[in-house]
Assembly symmetry: C2
Homo-oligomer: 458 residues x 2
């Protein structure tokens, strides 16, 4: 028997029906929301407890068999695709909410709890979990990719909101990183090391995250601009003014077309900002007035305000669905999504250059962004089965990432690295990649955790 | 020649007068603000550039000679004391401000720049660096101890405010961690790993930190309470209400005595809160009104407001000097300072238990705290040359830390670990300490960086 057969045999004896080698199950665990080719694991194990996770990892460690964590499968970059086969470790059944500490403003959950599930559960406490990457991702997955989304400008990313973790290490030990305290200066910050480690340093089984008070008032606004540069410069000025805007999203004309076609929003075809403010009535009014005055300076107009939840939900739903909405512009196409983030002083130049690149290309492209953080996504609409289109999208994405890095930016603001972006790691981080590799080798001596990805970069 | 003699000889040839073996210089580098015994380095090198640092570390790596970074010497826990002798690497001359990026709200400085120097330099930009540990520490030192202070409740600690670092690794390589972007999901978070590593994983040579807009209005207030529990519970309620208070400091009666004696404040002898609010005129008024209403519910009274800078400065200066102020209560005594942090829901119990312990002891003790974070300091006034007093302070501190850890807290909120607190690391972090040790061994194979401290814990 090969190593992997031996491991599967031992695991099967324990997990029974919770270990599957069925084609359909393996297929489901061999793909995600990225454009990466499907790669099947040898088997899938459905963990229901930390002990289950420990057993899987320890067995795989003994036999040097790869383990790739999986849950919602909503990765945009192939994180959960088991590049070297082995075991896909499904954590989606680990969806218990362990403790809500309303007084402290935190909650402890198993890694398979999704953000929508969490928010439904804690609603009565007057608190909420603001991080919103669009997909109904799991907390474990969001921690592993250092996810964020539309509200990061106000509430931070998973980096700022994860207080503590429980992790099964690559040698099968269980550790706790951090405590439910606002601050601590005791020891290396292992919590932050595992946040963003993309499952390459161990398996997160439990996540403690901050909750935030549900704002007394939430006001949303839509504002259109004469020019793209005007819209982006209004964002930069708003951020520099120190207004704690809760969301500030940019959509270009193509993105507005898509939203109108898909979600029947009836928006004017123009560079547009969606904004949101959180706080008390008086405070929201003050923020809104200041932001509106800034927008006007940069050619913004038609400020439409709403504090009605259903109106707000309609706008943000349209924004979240924008990745699907594009397909209504060109039936049968897919979005080749990118993700980059620059210092805010470079944002206008970065967005304009991306637009010019796309305009000079044969592809249709739309630009949306969590621009308050300097983060934006250019989506190229392609039919991936047409090699020329895929090649052109790759060429444009490559130019985008090279330019981003040259501007002092980062080639992934929130999607992580996964598979295809690994080539940029050394361009951005230089010799620090050697330090990353040394950490990986020290913590995962058998190289079994999500191999072929972060931590093993030439 | 021994290893260390060989290393000193090679370094002397290059650094000349900038390497000193003079007794007085070594003595200065063998102590800090802690109660740890003096331990002299074999030599002190004054670095003036990153290349200097690299040369020192590379030479020490070659000869397996310890290197302990030093700058302001304001550590409270012995971080800069060269336990294993070797080279004390003084970075205080690396005090250039490299780039102020006002549009992006960040600044790049050499590690030896102090926080007061930085704030004086950037004042005209309308931005400031809010982290305020009391001492005029260097940015490199503050990063290395994950420092914070009175404003962390609003602006976070060094963990939240360091965007990027340049580091000379223990094998003499120069790396850059992170970029000047608000968020990134590319690779292991090395920035956060070096923040709080206490100089055991490399030497920080350059720090990029966030700046924040200078508030339009700053309002300070003093409020006294009938009981200690009332004061602490008012803090908890204020934090839970979501008011973004900029500072909220607790002082017990003994601390008030000390402040009155030393700084002539003329404060009422009662459990007291010092508060500060930052924002626009309207917003500060709203925050203040809400906070005052909460304080009243818990027996707070005599709310004295001030927006005059000189009045504010007098209050905060008195707060910062409290460590010296205690000595006016009992001439010749020193403060045995402690530092712990608990979840806010446990704060009242934690502070009351510390007070009861102290009251049952023969020692005079005062309690102050950055209570908005659940962080407080009990200071025992002792004459260290009296063994019984030192032993009693140690007994009380031990009880404090054990109780803190049992409450889910951390045995150091902001002072770091240094020397004497290492014993608590495994009590708080359990087997995660093995992961810390593995990282240390991987990055510092020769074990030369600040040996005998974090990263080498049994």
């Amino acid at each position: 028997m090969s190593n992997v057969e031996q491991a599967i045999s031992e695991l099967k004896a324990h997990f029974g029906e919770r270990l599957s080698t069925a084609e359909a199950v393996r297929e489901h665990h061999g793909r995600d929301m990225s454009r990466q080719p499907v790669r099947l694991p040898d088997a899938v194990v459905f963990a229901e407890s930390e002990e289950d996770v420990q057993r899987v990892v320890a067995t795989c460690y003994t036999h040097s068999v790869p383990v790739t964590p999986f849950a919602a499968g909503s990765s945009m970059e192939g994180h959960t695709i088991p590049l070297k086969a082995g075991i896909s470790l499904d954590l989606s059944r680990m969806n218990r909410i362990i403790a809500v500490n309303a007084e402290d403003g935190d909650v402890v959950v198993e890694a398979g709890v999704t953000r929508k599930q969490l928010n439904a559960y804690v609603r009565d406490t007057g608190l909420f979990f603001p991080i919103d990457p669009g997909a109904d991702a799991t907390l474990g997955g969001m921690a592993s990719t250092r996810a964020s989304g539309t509200t990061a400008v106000r509430y931070g990313t998973m980096r700022e909101n994860v207080l503590a973790l429980r992790v099964v290490t690559p040698t099968g030990k269980i550790i706790t990183t951090g405590r439910r305290v606002k601050k601590s200066s005791t020891g290396y910050d292992l919590t932050k090391l595992f946040v963003g480690a993309e499952g390459t340093l161990g398996v997160i089984t439990e996540v403690t995250v901050r909750l935030h008070p549900i704002p007394e008032v939430i006001a949303s606004a839509i504002c259109t601009f004469e020019t793209m540069r005007g819209a982006v410069e209004a964002v930069v000025a708003t951020i520099q003014s120190g207004i704690p805007v809760a969301r500030i999203e940019f959509l270009d004309e193509v993105a507005i077309d898509a939203a109108n076609a898909h979600s029947k929003l009836g928006l004017k075809r123009a560079p547009t900002l969606f904004l949101e403010f959180h706080g008390s009535q008086r405070w929201v009014e003050e923020q809104s007035e200041t932001a509106a005055a800034i927008a006007q300076e940069y050619g913004g107009s038609g400020f439409e305000w709403s504090t009605r939840p259903e109106e707000r939900d309609r706008i943000w739903q349209a924004r979240h669905e924008s990745i699907f909405a594009n397909q209504t512009l060109r039936p049968g196409c897919k979005t080749y999504t990118t993700d980059c983030c620059v210092p805010i002083s470079r944002l206008a130049d970065a967005v304009m250059a991306a637009r010019e690149d796309a305009d000079a290309s044969s592809l249709t492209a739309k630009i949306i962004g969590h621009v308050g953080d300097g983060n934006f996504h250019v989506g190229y609409l392609i039919k991936p089965e047409i090699p020329e289109e895929l090649a052109e999208a790759e060429r444009l994405a490559h130019r985008l990432y090279e330019r981003t890095i040259a501007m002092g930016g980062t080639f992934s603001g929130e999607h992580g690295i996964g598979i295809s972006k690994l080539d940029y790691l050394r361009k951005e981080h230089g010799d620090a990649v050697d330090v990353m590799n040394a950490i990986k080798a020290a913590l995962d001596p058998a190289g079994i955790m999500n191999p072929g990805k972060l931590g093993q970069v030439a």
